[in-house]
């Protein structure tokens, strides 16, 4: 509840932020703080320097790239996502899911960048962005690079963002008629997920990503293959989900055993796919 001593800096530009992050070992970027401040209160982590990104307006933009990708700045809050007309038009599932994160106070501060960089296996956005085939732009002193979702999430609390680097934006393909779905079991309404799944059904096929069952979000590739034929009836989808659990080795905790999570993964994946299929616009 009470933090260790820490130093705080508030850079005015992204370059300044990157410079600070690179200059001080043990420096951490402070975005919305809805996870980092908690972690520091518990003294589970104690960065020496906090680099507050609050003044970096460049990271708050929501817009479109030249080739039509929806670009979401790393400092965009969940509330902003929920209220964004760009998101509503291009990929509304992002707003739909963001609206279920915790509560209003958390949504006013918590950011997209924070959600993905924390890389907590139970977070909402990692499996969703993996299913949506999002890409992540990372800037460091050496320049900028863009990384796909399956390379971005590296482990529990670990991402491809290295020391002295900053995630600047997340880019998401527009739906273009695809249907998206998200399902799972939470601890209470709008609580932490016990198991979740995100799915996209489009002309290119199905993408299904599972959260909570591994260190990083995982693609349910076998299930995707079984659905390649395009039959998204109830029976077909339930049938395709069978056996998904057996391929997983999820954790056990106070909210459920590994077995329960295996089962929930199948249920969530099926529900997410059915939801996505029902929302897909006819070609």
């Amino acid at each position: 509840m009470l933090l260790r001593e820490v130093e705080y800096a508030r850079p005015a530009t992204v370059e300044e932020a990157i410079s600070l992050l690179g200059s001080y070992e043990g420096a951490r970027a402070l975005a919305g703080g809805q996870t980092l401040v908690n972690v520091m209160k518990a003294r589970a982590a104690a960065p020496d320097v906090l680099v507050d990104l609050v003044d970096l307006d460049e990271l708050r933009a929501i817009g479109f790239s030249a080739d039509g990708l929806l670009e979401i700045g790393a400092m965009v809050t969940y509330t902003q996502l929920v209220g964004s007309s760009e998101v509503e038009v291009a990929r509304p599932i992002l707003a739909e899911v963001a609206a279920t994160i915790a509560d209003v106070q958390v949504r006013n501060r918590g950011t997209v960048g924070g959600n993905v960089c924390v890389a907590d296996p139970t977070n909402h956005l990692p499996p969703l962005l993996l299913a949506l085939d999002a890409t992540f732009t990372i800037r460091g002193s050496g320049g900028e690079r863009t990384v796909p979702a399956d390379e971005f999430f590296v482990g529990v609390y670990m991402t491809a963002v290295g020391e002295g680097e900053l995630l600047t934006k997340v880019s998401v393909p527009p739906s273009s008629g695809a249907g998206d779905g998200f399902a799972g079991l939470t601890i209470g309404k709008h609580g932490t997920y016990v198991a979740n799944a995100a799915a996209t059904v489009s002309d290119e096929g199905v993408r299904i990503a599972l959260g909570c069952v591994d260190a990083v979000p995982v693609r349910a590739s076998s299930m995707e293959e079984r659905l390649a034929g395009g039959d998204f009836s109830d029976d077909a989808v339930q049938g395709a989900a069978e056996g998904l659990g057996a391929s997983l080795d999820p954790p056990s905790d106070a909210h459920g055993s590994g077995d329960f999570r295996r089962h929930l993964a199948e249920v969530s994946a099926a529900r997410a796919v059915l939801q996505a299929a029902s929302r897909r616009k006819a070609a």
Binding site: M1, L2, L3, R4, E5, R43, D103, L185, I187, G188, K189, H190, G191, T192, V194, D253, A254, H255, G256, S257, F260, H263, L264, V267
Partner: protein, 819 residues
Amino acid sequence: MTTVTEQPARTLEKGYVGQSIPRKEDKRLVQGLGTFFDDVRRHGMGYVHFVRSPYAHAKIVSIDVSKALELDGVYGTITGDEVAISTDPFFEMSVEPGGNIKDYALAVGRVRHMGEPVAAVCAATRELARDAAELVEVSYDELPVLVEAEESLKNEVVLHEDAGSNVVWSGVFEWGDVDQALAEADHVVRIERLHFNRFASTPLECAGALVEYDRGTGEWTLHCNHQMPGIGAIWMAPSLRVGIDKLRFVTQDIGGAFGNKICLHPQYVVLCLLARKLGRPVQWTEWRTDQHTANAHGNERTFLDVEVAVKADGEMTGFKVRALDDCGAFPRYEPLGCIIWAQVTPGMYGWRNIKVDFTQVCTNKSPVSPNRGYSRMQHLWLTERIVDIVAAELGLDPVEVRKKNYVKTEQMPYETPNGCVYDSGDYAAALDIALDLVDHGSIEERRREAASRGKLLGFGIGSTLDSGTNNFGQSTLLNPDLQFSGNNEAASVKLDIFGEVVVTLGTVPQGQGHETTAAQVVADILGCSPDQVNVRRGHDTWFNSHAGFSGTYASQFAFTGLGAVKGASELLREEMVQLAAAVLQAPVEAIELADGMARIKDGPEEAALPFMALGAIVNANNAFLPPDFNPTLNHRYVCRPYFGMVDTEKKTGQLTLTYATQIHAAVVEVDPDTGEVEIVDYAAVDDCGVRINPQIVEGQVHGATAHAIGAALSEEFVYDEEGTLLTSNFYDYHVPHAMDMPPLKTGAMESPSPVAPLGAKGMGEGGGGGIHCICAAIQDALATAGKPIVSTSCNPPHRVWAMLRDPESSRAGVAVVSK
């Protein structure tokens, strides 16, 4: 919210009593101008942080505070060794061997639960105290950990060497002849195991205190939130080797307590020692994690080898059970829980043959503390589970089984097999109101409709009693040497110098609206408005308006608290009338108190004295009063309920005086794929006799329902094998938020209590009705999915799923033997 109210004849003339007048407390609270203990500041104060054990069971090998003391801004430290020298262990209530347990304010030599305080550091700021605590070096030798009560019974690992056994208390309670009832029964239903899970009410404000020590007088002042200062002082004073009068408890606003702020004495003694040692005020605020890990859990109870005797017509004639209660690392207020359930031995039912073989053991978990519904809730859950399991196994309607077996209103006042007297109530009528509120007749149709959506719908009832106004003599049924009996509560009412009505209570309100309800009672007796009545906030030992059992707990304020207020007000009223009669030169019978005046009934306008005049005369202008008339206009009254003595041999007696009724009904939908339970309809019917302020009563019903829903669906203190609490924060220990609560319908009845001063029964705790009805509803919902038996009180999705996946396992312990 639909409210249905039956209006039987009232037993007293009411003006303000019976009205839902808005609360006086609200004005300061809605402006953030309440004073909770952490809001109190003292110049030069130090902040305390406890160093706590990371192990559930270990020997303390060494403690080194030197590095902590070197930190700038650290005022001092204290360890268990110092505590063992400067204090005596706390008074224990049990007989041997449990009574030999040595419980000090800090761990001495050994730690017995994760989070147990081992040392304390005091520093200039909160952050520094926390930093310094990290620098205290403690080395431990781990010991084997006991987290299961059944394992603890074996005594292979003994937690308290002074006791030599993990058994805190054990005894057999037997009334009637259950073996004969079983022999004569047409059906015997056996239930191998039921388990009431560990949870607590987790008040939003954590425990704490700011303690000052006056070196001149040797007195401590504790600005705190202890909800039962009487017992707090009884524990602390002998431990500190001082008289009770050296401890002044001051409470102001308290952010909820629900029983969880009764066993704060260990930490408070540490604060007292530090305040004295360091010569400055010291303050400690408990953290949420510490409240969950190391303060106050509700009793965890396992019911084994239940046998129920049932006749062919559905009459239940008796039951026997082995109850195993897990009180955590230290008993403290226990083993009182080993008898308190006996206030409601038969539940709401007429069976006369009951045997309970009760054992309480220690484990390496957080110590328990009284928790809303204390000990009765666990027992009533048992009786309700029995009724529903009997009904399910014998193919009977749980509504009909209840109506058949409920104590009937014609039988009131009803003496239970162990001598308690249910004062009033009409259980069948209350049940009918609940059934009506949830439209019970449409259940089957709704079940079909839900099935068409892939959901399993279920209906359940939870009927409970909130027994209030304790006879502390019940403690002698556990330990005949204890010198406790009866009960009391005090209040003082006076007219101040300019006639303001001032009330001081012995109670310790934590949100129950005492300032308002007391004002209503006083206003009716003195003939003024509640706005004219100033009820002092909180409890202060220096008010000298308290008695040995003072506090707010155990659902008794409406009886003892308001009984004391009534008594004091009536004494004051009598004097005011006599004084007015003397001044107005009229006979006493001609005087009335009304509209804030004492006046001659139907007399001329001038024949009236405002309260201000009465107060001024007595306090400032009294020379003309006759020498034999000495009004003080300041009266203290102690309400002492009459119980009679308990019989320690037969284990009978009047354990509580009032019995409020709660009937809860729930309709749930279960998602068979995830085990999620959604409450789609819910009704709570309450009968607490006369309702002093119906809105306040209803608020208590809402709150008790929310606690029960949380306990039924998500709140559980879960431990792993190492004794680590896995649910120590609000992420993992999920309590209902606004979106989790179903629409609540409430209904009320008023069966006045013939024994209570105002006809009002204590209420507030509820009996856990929500837990019972949700368990019943889940079992009903799953009846088409293999008829699993719900055998735990808390059923989050993973447990419901386990029942769906393997109903046979859950049924394995249930058997019916029929003639």
